[in-house]
Symmetry: C2
């Protein structure tokens, strides 16, 4: 059993909590109103929008030292839906890793809509969570949580691949926003 903390109570935070709960893990879910409550999880999911990351780091950076920290953000310019707000050769995950040098930072869950995490399926496929990161043990621990919750997990490579994962997430969001796909659809992975 793994102890997870999910920072954020929106649809993604709820969906990830439900996956972890299905797997029998301990879940601590904290919203902004729980600022006085310390993080207890060994894996901490930052289930907040990209613009909220800086505040989280400021408020809880010290508590995140030594922990596995999961960035799930899609750093879109949501006004234009036409670009990301991170540098072209970087990623939100790389920024998080730079801000939390004492944490093991992973990118995950940004290519799976909340509905597909909660349902466990995307169309006829089992939902697959793509995980990128530089620490093999951290990726393995998160993959165990994901698979115990009934989903599939694929190691997508080093944290450098977060750039491609964020491109996938970006493209998927533009397709849903333009009604080419639904919010319960998107990219599925066929092994």
């Amino acid at each position: 059993m793994t102890n997870l903390t999910i920072l954020g109570t929106g649809n993604m935070g709820q969906a990830i909590a439900s996956v972890a709960a299905k797997g029998g893990h301990n879940v601590q879910q904290l919203g902004q109103e729980d600022l006085a409550t310390a993080v207890t999880g060994d894996i901490v999911v930052l289930a907040v929008p990209y613009p909220a990351i800086d505040q989280i780091v400021e408020q809880r950076g010290d508590q995140l030292a030594g922990k596995i920290v999961v960035d799930i953000t899609n750093p879109l310019n949501f006004e234009t839906f036409d670009s990301l707000v991170v540098p072209a050769d970087g990623s939100a995950a790389a920024e998080v890793a730079a801000k939390l040098p004492n944490s093991r930072v992973l990118k995950a869950f940004n290519t799976t809509f909340a509905g597909t995490l909660a349902a466990g399926t995307v169309g006829p496929l089992t939902t697959t969570v793509l995980i990128a990161g530089d620490d093999a043990d951290a990726k393995s621990q998160l993959a165990s949580v994901v698979t115990s919750g009934g989903l599939k997990a694929i190691d997508a490579g080093s944290l450098k691949r977060a750039r491609e994962l964020e491109a996938v997430g970006f493209l998927q969001l533009t397709l849903a926003a333009s009604e080419k796909i639904s919010w319960t659809g998107g990219f599925g992975v066929i092994s």
Copy 2:
């Protein structure tokens, strides 16, 4: 019925030719040995690896004026499998468009492995071709060819989205090369 020319006789060129043939279209397929043969198609698919694009443009650029030109490349550094060789804020498709100002350039077929084009399916899903480009009529003509051949087509937005399509193609290639997925699998699209 549409007249297509496919420049390239490799596995991707053959698979795209088979899709077009299934749809009842006229297909002219030309290899490097057919240099003296003029392009007759209204849609011309550059089914060659990225490093061969410059030569094609040099040899046949004039013939491509006025035509719909489809770039299918994944401009990977195939030695490292760790980066693309195009600028971080650009794409192979943008480069092709810059070199062929009198053609209507589309990005397509770079997110579908040859096996999934030839079979028409990826796992339990119909294979979906994502098409990006700045000319709606050109995208519509290519989509008609794709759907008449039994596949699905999705308009993925402007040619600027080629950057994200190339990220998807890059990620998919790294997953297959590291045996996380097979060459008959990959990303499927659930509407």
